[in-house]
């Protein structure tokens, strides 16, 4: 057989196919091309969608600054924020307690809620693709119960020091999470490969074992201390200090960027490992990268805010129904939607029974559940569950 060039023949190729199949006039041909273009994600659609979501998120965040123990009008909030940006915190003394509330309580809380919700949703997307399982969520790999165990141990022994303006509880929780990551990986990996079914099993079992430890610790704990544990397990978005926030932001942004980088490979990974490999994906590298990044993000988020459920599992589904399955857009869009959703849920959590708060995990479940049912019933689910 003669070997003929490939690229040079491309224009001839189009004619050839036309000759064989009589596609028809050029106008018809271009409509087909146009419809295909619309089905595929383009850079333009990505930018437009992301900008819209970003603007919406910003609006929701601004609005939520209004609510709390008392209402602080939008104009006042804006003035306080501007003043703070120009003169630093001291410049807002004139605003009295409103200033402190906005800057030290609400703003950090809203920002934290956005970051936590966004990270949980992004990790949910990544894990659903990695495990090829639509029921996956950030807690399925056992990292969160490791973090919870770290927190329980810290509360039990009353460990109380501060390192770098971060209190011990999140640090102990994070160490617990790291320990869980190491255990899960060692159990699941073999011969340098990471089989997905063993990963899932290892996570489930680790969850069970750690939960048992946590229950044991809770039962022997001084009942006076167990308050903290109970509420931590239900999720909390209390205002952290700004230095801690900066560290957290950097950490989450780095992790999120790594996930974003992998999204195209994730698209192919959902076809199955063998198909992905045949399309040029370094499957083992991608799996390990996504696993470790997701686990480290989850560990950090859970350490800071306890276990806030629902966001990581359902937001990816909801966004996928509207936006489609292409992870290049799905991941960042889910992050924005997840962040906004958690900010809204937290606003409800801290106003409904003011001045007391409901744990935010309760609001996410009670609020998001019906929302998801609505989506399932009224839109094409598009997911073979």
């Amino acid at each position: 057989m003669r070997i003929t060039g490939w690229k040079n023949e491309s224009s001839k190729e189009t004619e050839g196919s036309a000759a064989v199949f009589s596609v028809g006039n050029p106008v018809e041909q271009s409509t087909v091309t146009a419809s295909i273009e619309q089905s595929v994600l383009s850079a333009r659609r990505w930018v437009v969608t992301m900008l819209t979501l970003a603007v919406a998120s910003l609006l929701v965040m601004m609005a939520s600054l209004r609510f709390g123990a008392e209402e602080i009008g939008l104009a006042d909030s804006a003035r306080i924020l501007l003043q703070a940006l120009r003169y630093g915190e001291a410049g807002t003394d004139s605003f009295g307690s409103s200033g402190v509330i906005i800057l030290q309580v609400r703003l950090p809380r809203v920002l934290l809620g956005f970051m936590v919700g966004g990270s949980l949703a992004a990790v949910g997307v990544g894990l659903q693709a990695l495990l090829r399982n639509p029921l996956a969520d950030p807690y399925v790999l056992g990292i969160s119960s490791g973090a919870a165990l770290g927190a329980a141990v810290a509360i039990l022994f009353g460990i109380g020091t501060t390192v770098l303006a971060i209190t011990t509880l999140p640090l102990c929780a994070f160490v617990g999470g790291l320990m869980a990551i190491v255990i899960v990986y060692r159990v699941a990996a073999s011969y340098g490969r990471l089989p997905i079914h063993t990963l899932l099993l290892a996570g489930v079992i680790l969850n069970a074992i750690f939960s048992a430890f946590i229950m044991f610790i809770t039962s022997i704990m001084d009942p006076n201390r167990s308050f903290g544990m109970m509420f931590w397990l239900m999720g909390t978005l209390t205002a952290p200090s700004y230095p801690a926030m900066v560290a957290l932001v950097l950490y989450l942004v780095v992790g999120g960027s790594i996930l974003l980088w992998q999204t195209q490979s994730l698209n192919l990974l959902t076809l199955g490992e063998e198909s992905a490999r045949s399309l040029g994906v370094e499957v083992e590298t991608v799996k390990k990268t996504v696993f470790f990044t997701s686990a480290l993000l989850t560990g950090a988020v859970v350490s800071v805010s306890g276990m806030i459920g629902f966001v990581g599992m359902v937001i990816p589904h909801a966004v996928r129904m509207v936006i489609g399955a292409d992870h290049r857009l799905l991941l960042p869009a889910s992050a924005l939607v997840g962040g906004t959703f958690l900010v809204a849920a937290d606003t409800v959590a801290r106003t409904v029974l003011a001045p007391a708060e409901i744990p935010v995990g309760i609001v996410t479940a009670l609020g998001g559940g019906p929302l998801f049912i609505y989506l399932l019933l009224y839109r094409k689910s598009g997911l073979a569950l």
Binding site: V100, I101, Q104, T168, S219, F231, T236, P355, L377
Partner: protein, 340 residues
């Protein structure tokens, strides 16, 4: 509402079912929440009535040696019990205070006052060990309402072990419990004397603080998340008696998880931390609070700690707790008083 074309009728039925289910679920939560809030109001009224009648159970048709506990269960004690198991540190303290320590054969691992109580056999606290209790052959088990599991109580009744449940919601409850125990154990004299003494001291403190300004304070049960005491809780009553104003007064539950904004708005002048016996306020906790530099309490450095046992245990030492609290809130007013 729109339904997908193919299965319109079934679809709308399903939607109705789902809506009904959610409505039930939400209704359950609301009802539970309201009931709990309501319960907090009801109880004090009932108990205060008992107290007004000098602590005697207001049931004329009650036979002697029959006692009614806080779950409205009647028990009959032919004679004073000689082997008693106490399932709460507060109850243990009462028994020692009225002179019944000899009869005490079983305690919890947290019963540490007076120190001799630590020598008694342990049976557990949140999850009492049934076998240990039975092995001690008690003729009376005294248990607190909290941590009580229905199956545990049922088992004790099945084994024909008399059990008496205490649920102290107010200070008056504590006093009437002391007196009831005195009658049950044949130590009415010492019990009534103790109760009278306590009442007197409480009244003294109350009068003394009544004329003083009541500073705002925050009682920090837990810092992160912020949990404090609210209306309906024991400690809230103590705060009022001690002459303080609880900044969580607007809350609707006894142990609310409070929003920091409320604290900033109410601006407490004092922060009170309950601590264990040996420690002060942990460093990390202080750091957490020192962030809020606008609070009066932080500006003037008014961080105080009180031994948690004095306030948590509804027993004889609440008076000490009340005194300590009053002394903390009004240091000038109590200079001359000695704490026994």
């Amino acid at each position: 509402m729109l339904c997908r074309d193919q299965q319109t009728r079934r679809c709308s039925q399903e939607i109705r079912q789902i809506q009904a289910a959610w409505a039930c679920l939400i209704a359950t939560f609301l009802i539970a929440g309201l009931a709990q809030a309501h319960e907090g109001e009801q109880q004090p009224v009932k108990r205060r009535q008992q107290g007004i009648l000098t602590g005697m159970p207001f049931m004329a048709n009650l036979a002697p040696r029959t006692f009614v506990d806080d779950l409205d269960r009647k028990i009959y004690l032919a004679k004073a019990p000689t082997r008693i198991v106490s399932l709460a540190p507060s109850i243990t303290e009462v028994l020692y205070a009225i002179g019944s320590s000899e009869e005490l054969v079983g305690v919890t691992q947290y019963c540490d006052y007076p120190p001799e109580a630590r020598l008694k056999p342990k049976v557990g606290y949140t999850h009492p060990n049934l076998e240990s209790i039975v092995a001690l052959h008690p003729d009376l088990v005294l248990a607190p309402r909290e941590f009580l599991r229905a199956d545990f109580l049922g088992k004790l009744e099945q084994l024909k072990i008399s059990t008496f449940i205490f649920d102290a919601k107010t200070i008056e409850d504590v006093l009437s419990h002391i007196q009831t125990l005195g009658r049950m154990l044949g130590r009415s004299a010492s019990a009534d004397a103790l109760a009278a003494q306590m009442r007197q001291r409480i009244t003294e403190i109350k009068t003394r603080t009544a004329t003083l300004p009541h500073p705002r304070l925050l009682y920090v049960l837990n810092s992160e998340p912020l949990i404090t005491v609210g209306p309906g809780s024991f400690i809230d009553q103590l705060i009022k008696l001690a002459g303080g104003t609880n900044v969580a007064a607007r809350a609707k539950t006894p142990y609310p998880r409070l929003n920091m904004e409320e604290v900033l708005k109410e601006d407490p002048e004092l922060l009170i931390f309950p601590v264990g016996t040996a420690e002060g306020i942990p460093d990390s906790e202080q750091q957490v609070w020192k962030r809020w530099a606008t609070l009066s309490a932080v500006k003037h450095g008014r961080f105080h700690h009180i031994p948690s046992d004095l306030l948590n245990r509804p027993g004889p030492r609440i008076v000490q707790g009340l005194e300590t609290l009053a002394r903390t809130i009004h240091p000038n007013a109590f200079e001359d008083k000695q704490t026994p």
